[in-house]
């Protein structure tokens, strides 16, 4: 058997896992590993400018490709800088392996230089973690880490590597395990057939069903199956923020995103539904509004791979634990047979009148049927920026986003027809996610259009990554929706704090000149202030194929995101629809 040092084992194990990029940043505790990378490593290393960016880039790489992301950081500050990114991946169930250096084994616990208890610090935000005690355990631990990160409900796994076990002079037998079995970890592989039958007969009998599909559909690569299923029953489909693209955004059956900033028709249909078919969604508080007033007439069928997501906030009448793909396949089979053998079980009349009702709601208040924003101010509206982006990219770009109003506008106005195109921090809501995320996506798909929709607040949280983009020539397009304010904070202050803008507009006069800033990093900066120029400048940005373009679009600072559910006190259908109803 081959003899390898711990450092070489790490590199080899990553190669065997098919890792395409190491997103990392060196430091004392990982110097042996970096030396192994220098000497012999087929995988390109991407040097970010802050470890948080490494985690977001690896995370977005995973979201866009479906393959696990890989991060390598040093101990202490390197590890703690990675925490926000690990938490972001955890909340959205993203497969990712984070290798963190640790001080030498004999120093652990002595408050050694750059010592942090990474296993302890990361414990509540990882799917699992390992502290490796001996070099010969490295191959099996890394194998387990990837296995756990990518199976069942995916999530980040931390592997903490004390420096001494990666020492180049200490070599041990190396063999990478082909498969792994763990007695304590066995994710569900099939749904319960009795529950599946019950669910299908309820769906066939339902008069006002809604299919509520979340990020699990995308993580479980089941978009096509879901679409076929929805078409078979002509059932209206709403997506969560994480689920966008899991069902085609331009499909007639798509009624838009639901929840706090969901469409009028989606939230209203949910409220009046008699059967909610939840697929890979988790009844998050941003989608339910007040749970005691939640969808009073609906029965609930809930498919999820994670039993803890079922009946956590909203009780499911028919819970089905299993992978979406196999469960939906089984269900579709039964639906097709039923429709063929006993077509009368499907209530066509009820379906027609349900759609008639939904279409009335959609025509009256839908986002796309009538403009939902006024253009009186003469300034560019943030919604128009997304509409222009959508037009220029023909709805086919990868769009990463930061957090705030711009994120909600992007989710509402960019209609994602394909899964894995909409990449945002839904669960944690991490400002600073967008730019490093765009790097991860662009590295994975160098020929695709990759846009980062951001705000002047969020972009400054990881602005240093403009340097990484120069370094690796990543011609992404940054669409900065510049409202000179922490817009989402300001919106809440307008609505609930009597317009007292505590800190939300404070930086208005100290913002950088983003055009010059982009140029300083060697990129192209373009400022847009007039609506007449918007489409041209957008086209120009995307026509510069090999350049990163920072499009700084100055927009109306007083716009709010609508619809907005009346937070915490209302039901699904209680929404403010425009400023005349609420500031």
């Amino acid at each position: 058997m081959e003899l390898l040092s711990g450092g070489d084992m790490v590199v080899r194990a990553l190669e065997e896992e098919g890792v395409e990029f190491i997103f990392g940043y060196p430091g004392g505790a990982v110097l042996h590993i970096y030396d192994a990378i220098f000497n012999n490593c087929k995988i390109p290393h991407v040097l970010v400018r802050h470890e948080q960016a490494a985690t977001h880039a690896a995370d977005a790489y995973a979201r866009a490709t479906g393959k696990p992301g890989l991060v390598l950081v040093t101990s202490g500050p390197g590890a703690t800088n990675a925490i926000t990114g690990i938490a972001t991946a955890y909340m959205d169930s993203i497969p990712m392996v984070v290798l963190s250096g640790q001080v030498q084994s004999h120093l652990i616990g002595e408050d050694a230089f750059q010592e942090t208890d990474m296993i302890g610090v990361s414990r509540p935000i990882v799917k699992h973690s390992f502290l490796v005690k001996h070099a010969k355990d490295i191959p099996e631990t890394i194998k387990k880490a990837f296995y756990i990160a990518t199976t069942g409900r995916p999530g980040p796994v931390v592997v903490d590597l004390p420096k001494d076990i990666t020492h180049p002079d200490e070599k041990f037998e190396y063999e990478y395990p082909k498969t792994i079995k763990m007695r304590s970890y066995n994710p569900a592989v099939r749904g319960h057939s009795g529950q599946i039958k019950k669910a299908v007969s309820m769906l066939l009998a339902a008069k006002r069903p809604v299919l509520y599909a979340g990020g699990g559909v995308i993580l479980g690569d089941s978009s096509e199956l879901l679409t076929e299923f929805a078409h078979a029953l002509n059932i209206p489909v709403t997506n969560t923020l994480m689920g966008l693209g899991g069902f085609p955004g331009e499909d007639r059956q798509f009624i838009g995103m639901l929840g706090m900033h969901g469409t009028y028709e989606a939230n209203t249909a949910m409220h009046h539904s008699d059967l909610i078919f939840a697929v890979g969604a988790r009844f998050d508080d941003r989608t339910t509004n007040m749970t005691s007033k939640y969808c009073p007439t609906a029965k609930i069928i809930h498919i999820d791979i994670d039993p803890t997501s079922i009946s956590k906030t909203i009780t499911a009448d028919v819970p089905i634990v299993g992978p979406i793909e196999t469960v939906l396949k089984d269900m579709l089979e039964l639906v097709k047979t039923a429709l063929k053998k006993t077509p009368e079980t499907f209530d066509q009349e009820a379906n027609d009148s349900w759609w008639q009702q939904i279409n009335e709601w959609r025509d009256a208040q839908g986002l796309w049927t009538a403009p939902r924003y006024d253009t009186d101010s003469g300034m560019i509206k943030p919604q128009q920026v997304i509409e222009a982006l959508y037009k220029t990219t023909k709805g086919d770009a990868y769009v990463t986003s930061d957090v705030g109003q711009h994120q909600m506008f992007a989710a509402q106005y960019y209609r994602f027809n394909k899964p894995r195109r909409w990449i945002n921090s839904g669960g944690l809501g991490t400002m600073g996610f967008g730019l490093p995320a765009a790097m991860g996506v662009k590295l994975a798909f160098p020929d695709a259009d990759v846009a980062c929709v951001t705000g002047e607040g969020s972009i400054q949280m990881n602005i240093q990554e403009l340097s990484t983009c120069t370094h690796y020539r990543l011609p992404i397009k940054i669409i900065n929706i510049n409202n000179e304010s922490l817009g989402m904070v300001k919106q809440w202050q307008d609505m609930q704090y009597g317009g007292r803008h505590s800190q939300s507009v404070a930086y208005k006069d100290s913002l950088p000149d983003f055009v010059k800033l982009a140029e300083a990093y060697g990129h192209v900066g373009i400022r847009v202030t007039k609506f007449e120029d918007l489409e041209d400048k957008m086209n120009e940005a995307f026509s510069l194929k090999d350049r990163l373009v920072f499009l700084d679009v100055v927009v109306d600072p007083n716009e709010h995101v609508y619809p907005m559910q009346i937070a915490s006190s209302g039901s699904m259908r209680d929404m403010w629809l425009n400023k005349t109803e609420r500031t």
């Binding site: 296993i119 302890g120 414990r123 509540p124 799917k127 699992h128 973690s129 502290l131 756990i148 763990m182 007695r183 304590s184 970890y185 994670d306 039993p307 803890t308 009946s311 956590k312 009780t315």
Partner: protein, 163 residues
């Protein structure tokens, strides 16, 4: 309601902190917790008691099962079970009190395991209720120190929690 949850856990460093962390992270309470390796040194057996409504207990067991280090678990309170807790209690014992305390200890089937000029140390095993009752019978004024192991338990009959 009070539940006794018995968990077969990988005997790995950090496994216990994941269990404990889960409870604080999600706002569940732990009333008592005991853990030690089993006859198979790669496995630990952990017993915890907790209180909550049905929905909370269901979430607790689901979340425990989700922990990668947890191999299997059972809620002992769902069926017939045996539970025991051990207590050592040090009480003031002088003059006539000494005989009185000894008598009380006998009634509870405890043992005096250490004797000092003015103190007794008594060992009692039984259900938590029984231990509570003994503590009460000693009276606050006389108690110097109490230490309890927390509950351990097994299901009655043929049922076993094993690999």
């Amino acid at each position: 309601m009070r539940h006794i949850i018995s968990v077969l856990l990988e005997n790995e460093p950090g496994a216990l902190s994941r269990v404990v962390g889960l409870f604080s992270q999600r706002g569940y309470n732990i009333e008592s917790l005991t853990v030690a390796p089993t006859e198979d040194p790669t496995l630990s057996r952990l017993t915890l008691t907790t209180k909550g409504d049905e929905r909370t207990i269901e979430q607790i067991t689901k979340h425990l099962n989700k922990l990668v280090d947890v191999v299997k678990l059972v809620d002992l309170t769902e069926g017939g079970h045996i539970e025991r807790e051990l207590m050592l209690i040090k009480v003031k014992a002088t003059g006539a009190q000494r005989a009185e305390i000894k008598r009380c200890t006998d009634i509870f089937r405890g043992q005096v395991v250490d004797v000092g000029p003015s103190v007794y140390t008594i060992q009692i095993t039984g259900t938590s209720d029984k231990l509570d009752a003994f503590v009460q019978s000693m009276g606050d004024a006389n108690i110097l120190e109490v230490v309890r192991t927390g509950v351990s338990g097994l299901a009655r009959g043929e049922k076993v929690l094993s690999l």
